[in-house]
Symmetry: C2
Subunit: 429 residues, 2 copies
């Protein structure tokens, strides 16, 4: 039965009239000529265009009104090479690969046109055969979400799954994850599973696995080598280090940000070199201290999302903050200016929030550098109003930590204590 | 009459009992011994401590209860050297220096203890004598605010003042400004005064002018040289380029961010080299195109602050966005994830906002790189819901531009047009 997912009105009519559907390989003539596969669309899409996946891997939206001609091309069946079902080599270390979705787990199925997770053991082996040479990899698909759609509930699902394997014979665990919010997830896992006995590597890619320029394979290989050889504990993000296709960076999961929208080396450690650099078979260690500051594995996997991140800017309306208080928020993370400031028009409402027992933490929108609220009058005023300076914690990390601290404390004093305790290298000196 | 600005209750009593006041030079014994000048405090400060400016330039708050002894020291009068009232050399180019406050304009008056602007012509010449060798500098104090307290109203005051000098014989204008929000101000001036006939340089410092490590002098000298020699138009931010005390960077006012809380080289051009680098007397130009994309000077100095910046994160509550809509906001700048995404839990409320005629613009919290909403389904959905991708505009710049666009358009179509028109290099390729 032909599939029309996401098409309605005119665009649906167009597909039916032309006897094509999602998954059809077509040639389309507009002002240019396009060849590709018709893709499913999401429910909110308008009805004026159809979406085509080009051979380059890019999707393009084409306006129906501008299409002069559409021609259905014969289907090229893709034969899965059964030869590639490699036998496992039981002498190699065991690695668990959990997939949560994202670009790294995306591949166009050239028969249906749908984007599907590729991470069955066989398909993985066939797409990155080098992995089977260095590890026995078990895989499991947890869910399949682009990471902009990941929510704190997904964090909890991942934690729960990881808890199952804290006493296993795996050498390490890879989590395939979309890059958009990978650093939020790595932060939550760092706090919730502090002291986790084997290393955890979050791996993403900036180009989907079916594109020639994909960084998925190299990132996965780098992560696997790291897990086997580093003999460490911690939560790391492992991605391309630079524009070369040779160097992989391994970032502390609480000291990293996605700092570029599209580069394969989008992730950067803030204020330091990456913890490890992997060049071919050489692993260079820059990390000086243990990732976890706790000695024992002590999972605390609750969270409470009543935390708001307020990025301060000139003209920020204190009434907006007033609304946030009225909505019952229990913690605020300010992304202040410079050393940790917000304008004096905010003082009255901050005072009120403090009196209500709301946790008020200060980070900086500068991203790099330390909060120091004792240098200027503004900072000292804010200290007096009850704002807690959060050292050099990255704003996104402070936000996630506050959700976690709220979920695992009895009262605001407990939240304050947890926020200032260095749990997983989120504060550095 | 003794001055006690900001002191109340116990702290006021303490000063009076010990016969000291704001501006007194004292030696204080607690667990350590401190010498310095008692500073005024701000109204919200608690009553438990007094503030002392140490000779190092740092301020320290000392708890009254822990003070064992306080001793008043004799006042060392600072003699202003009348010899330094240099005669103006009328053959040199004329530069106007406007002061708005901030660290660069801060200096402790060692007689009163108050922080005052130093920028009278004479004091400036005496503190940076090199300036008088290269330019005739007229100075004017506009106001005196740390830049975390700068509001859009201050932007309007600065614009109004600059309008007075658009037909003057000045070669260029320096604006001394606090660093925290200097890039917001430079953005507003860029849009409001697009095409301004002479170059404008915003200059700040990360260490106050009375400290040995101050970067104020070098930044001012660099800015003056740049204004005289570049023969260009535009709004630039001029600060230390690196940790050396030799290299000054000149950033496009719409492509720059404060990326470190404390380094003297805190400002960085996003995604490119700085427009100019000044090393001693050498000015190296990297800027390729004209700063202003308009040919004629056409001031449009209105603004409307009903713009909210929403930084999206996992767990962001759509009800918070709902409140913002209810409060009558007319434009939203999203700081989305990656290429320009927000989670699908936001779709319904975004649709509603679009139907209400609210401008919805997308930027990225990655800061560097371009918005591309056609690559993934999420992005295409958001396009369909009416979100406008703002190319590689920096989120803070997009926010300021939206305030400006709202103030200078008749309707939302006008806002959309202005937001996508490259006015002052805020979009680059």
């Amino acid at each position: 039965m032909p599939e029309y997912t996401g098409y309605a009105g005119k665009s649906l009519e167009f597909l039916k009239t032309n006897n094509v559907a999602v998954g059809s390989t077509v040639k389309i003539l507009t002002d240019l000529t396009f060849s590709g596969i018709i893709m499913p669309r999401y429910e909110h899409a308008g009805e004026k265009h159809i979406v085509l996946k080009l051979n380059s891997g890019y999707n393009v939206g084409l306006e129906i009104e501008k299409i002069e001609k559409i021609e259905k091309l014969p289907v090229t069946e893709k034969i899965i090479d059964e030869q590639l079902r490699l036998e496992k080599n039981t002498s190699l270390p065991k690695i668990l690969l959990l997939s949560t979705g994202g670009t790294i787990a995306s591949k166009v199925d050239y028969r249906t046109g749908a984007v599907t997770p590729i991470l069955t053991a066989e398909e993985l082996n066939s797409s990155v055969p080098e992995l089977a040479q260095i590890a026995n990899i078990d895989t499991e698909v947890l869910f399949s979400e682009y990471s902009e759609n990941i929510t704190p509930n997904h964090w909890l699902q991942i934690s729960k799954k990881l808890l199952e394997f804290s006493n296993s014979d795996y050498t390490g665990i890879i989590i395939a994850h979309g890059t958009d919010t990978m650093h939020y997830t790595s932060s939550f896992l760092s706090f919730a599973l502090a002291g986790y006995p084997i290393p955890i590597a979050l791996v993403g890619s900036q180009r989907s696995s079916d594109r020639a320029s994909s960084d998925a394979a190299l990132n996965l290989i780098g992560a696997t080598k790291f897990l086997i050889e580093s003999k460490t504990r911690g939560v790391y993000i492992i991605m391309h280090h630079d524009e070369s296709d040779e160097t992989i960076a391994c970032h502390l999961g609480t000291r990293v940000r996605k700092n570029h929208t599209s580069k394969r080396s989008a992730f950067q450690t803030i204020g330091d070199d990456p913890a490890y650099i992997i060049i071919n078979d050489k692993i260079q260690k820059n990390q000086k201290d243990n990732y976890f500051k706790v000695k024992e594995f002590k999972p605390r996997t609750n969270l409470d999302t009543k935390v708001a991140l307020i990025k301060y800017y000139p003209g920020y309306d204190p009434n907006l903050f007033q609304k946030i208080i009225e909505m019952g928020y229990k913690a605020i993370i300010f992304e202040g200016t410079g050393l940790g400031h917000i304008g004096n028009t905010m003082y009255d409402i901050v005072k009120k929030a403090n009196e209500k027992g709301i946790f008020l933490g200060m980070t900086s929108q500068c991203i790099d550098g330390r909060i120091r609220m004792t240098v200027y009058e503004s900072g000292r005023d804010l200290l007096d109003l009850g704002i807690i300076p959060l050292e050099n914690m990255i704003p996104e990390v402070a936000l996630v930590k506050a959700m976690w601290a709220l979920g695992n404390s009895k009262d605001i004093e407990g939240v304050k204590e947890l926020m200032l305790e260095n749990i997983a290298s989120e504060i550095s000196y």
